[in-house]
């Protein structure tokens, strides 16, 4: 009895609250990255191993755009736009010719692209990490910490972007095209929907969202050529746990996993805390392999 009481007393409530906020913030960025990935997989059956590099290139574009314009928000939009167009070009040149072939081909293709882009960034920008200063440097007091407002803003902004995407898919004409194509590619074509271009559009959208996450994350952790790796791994875990192609599921899964890791970090050190997400992945694959929140098909 005493031991339990001691344990309860030892739980650092203030630390848990801080970690909850941290978990949600990281979760929202992760959700933004994972949404793009799950969209691409859900609609085109493409496992995009280059997604982390689109995140990374987005961050670099943000750095350049910021240096040029001096405005963070403008840099964010420009980076998303440029990488969106780049994503479209990439899809047309490398993935469109592979439509209809063994899915292994696209996996190899996107993996190859990821290597090319990583090394390109290393060559172009050098090994020294870049930084973007955060647009809002104000902070508020949270217990014994000075907590940056910027982190809250990121969470809200990511939420807004994902929310807009959801509304777009539900009500917009192209959103209906995308949903129809996901369900029945052949009949979508028979209804006049230009499916090859829907695929390009979706890839561009996913790329733009990855780029935006990269720019949002940049003030946190700096920008270097390998920043995509860690994020894409976590994003894939989120996509599997949330259900491939399930937008809502990936948001919930992203927050869930990030919270779990954040709490684990209270007792374990951060590099061990990552184990939490792998445990969730393994449990999901064992018991609900289509995802915890799999969409009905």
């Amino acid at each position: 009895m005493g031991a339990i009481g001691d344990f309860i007393h030892s739980i650092p409530v203030d630390l848990l609250i801080i970690q909850t906020i941290n978990g949600i913030v990281t979760g929202m960025i992760l959700a933004l990255v994972a949404s793009g990935l799950t969209l691409i997989f859900g609609i085109m059956d493409v496992v995009n191993f280059a997604h982390g590099e689109l995140f990374m290139l987005g961050a670099y574009m943000g750095v350049i755009a910021f240096a040029t314009t001096g405005n963070f928000w403008l840099a964010l939009m420009l980076a998303a736009l440029i990488i969106g167009i780049f994503g479209a070009a990439l899809q047309i040149l490398t993935l469109r010719p592979l439509i209809g072939r063994d899915p292994l081909n696209t996996i190899l293709a996107t993996f190859g692209i990821s290597l090319v882009l990583q090394n390109y960034a290393l060559w172009q920008f050098g090994p020294v990490a870049r930084k973007i200063s955060e647009p809002i440097s104000a902070e508020f007091t949270l217990f014994y910490l000075q907590y940056p407002w910027y982190r809250i803003v990121i969470a809200l902004l990511s939420g807004a972007i994902i929310g807009s995407l959801w509304l777009f898919l539900k009500y917009n004409k192209f959103g209906v095209w995308i949903r129809a194509t996901t369900q029945d590619r052949v009949m979508a074509q028979a209804m006049g929907i230009p499916v090859p271009w829907v695929y390009t559009g979706v890839f561009a959208l996913g790329a733009a969202m990855a780029a935006a996450s990269g720019v949002l994350f940049a003030p946190f952790g700096g920008v270097d050529s390998s920043m995509g790796l860690q994020w894409v791994l976590e994003a894939f875990i989120v996509v599997v746990v949330g259900g491939m192609g399930n937008l809502g599921g990936s948001v919930v899964a992203a927050i869930f996993i990030s919270l779990l890791e954040a709490y684990a970090a209270v007792w374990l050190n951060p590099s061990q805390a990552v184990i939490a997400s792998f445990v969730v992945l393994i449990l999901t694959l064992l018991f609900r392999p289509t995802g915890l929140f799999a969409a009905p098909k």
Binding site: K173, V176, W177, R179, A180, Q183, D184, V186, M187, A188, Q189, A190, M191, G192, I193, P194, V195, P296, K297
Partner: protein
């Protein structure tokens, strides 16, 4: 327009089409025509290649030989989405409505085209809801929740949204109750009155003979018989030979 009717070129011409599924040689040189405003019936047993003929016209499978033309213009091998925009609508054998989209969204996939004015939109929707009142009631329901007969109506309504010149109708009465079967017959008649051509693949012989102006009968990947529908009766030897046992 009347010159068009007198000229030799039909709305759709299929000429010597050979289609394979892998190595399986399904169509062995199929030729047929559909005139503007005509209902043409395509009869035959299972597995003779009727659906494959429709799919070859719609670009869902690519013929290895032969040609398909629309109003004299070659369309063989064009992708389906281009053909839909040129005025060919396809209603497949298993309906294939978008199950997770609402009835309205299903219709929108055909309605949201370039160059459709607000008036045309309203007119098309009004027409389709007049034809199929039950679809108006179920406007916001997901396609997958509709009954088999309602899904067939939705599939036809969706095709009408394309304002097609010709509808390729694949076994619309299959699996439907007798009441619905006769309703399909009336719908085909109504579409015919509007001047839309129909290439009707069916196994229901009486319905097809009533609805069509001309009949083709297929067997083993070839057209074996071709005549006016009025010249055929359900008890004819030809019918028994190619469709019976």
């Amino acid at each position: 327009m009347s010159e068009q009717a007198n000229s030799a070129e039909p709305l759709v011409r299929v000429e010597g089409v050979h289609t394979y599924y892998g190595k399986s040689h399904i169509l062995h040189g199929v030729s047929l025509t559909v005139g503007a405003g005509e209902v043409v019936g395509l009869l035959g047993r299972n597995g003779v290649g009727k659906s494959t003929t429709l799919k070859s016209i719609m670009g869902l499978v690519r013929p290895t030989q032969g040609a398909v033309s629309l109003n004299g213009q070659a369309i063989t091998g064009l992708p389906p989405h281009k053909l839909a925009r040129l005025g060919i609508a396809y209603v497949p054998e298993d309906r294939r409505i978008f199950r997770l989209l609402t009835v309205m969204e299903n219709l929108r996939t055909g309605l949201d085209r370039n160059g459709v004015t607000e008036e045309t939109r309203k007119a098309l929707l009004d027409k389709v809801f007049a034809y199929f009142p039950v679809l108006a009631e179920r406007r916001t329901q997901a396609g997958g929740t509709l009954s088999g007969g309602e899904q067939q109506m939705l599939a036809i309504a969706r095709a009408m949204m394309l304002e097609p010149k010709i509808i390729l109708l694949d076994e619309p009465t299959e699996g439907l109750m007798p009441r619905m079967v006769s309703q399909i017959g009336h719908i085909i008649e109504a579409l015919h009155k509007e001047g839309i051509s129909i290439l009707l693949v069916e196994q229901n012989v009486p319905l097809t003979l009533r609805a069509s102006q001309r009949i083709y009968i297929m067997e083993k990947g070839n057209v074996r018989h071709h005549c006016a529908a009025s010249a055929l009766d359900v008890n004819d030897a030809v019918i028994k030979q190619y469709l019976g046992v």
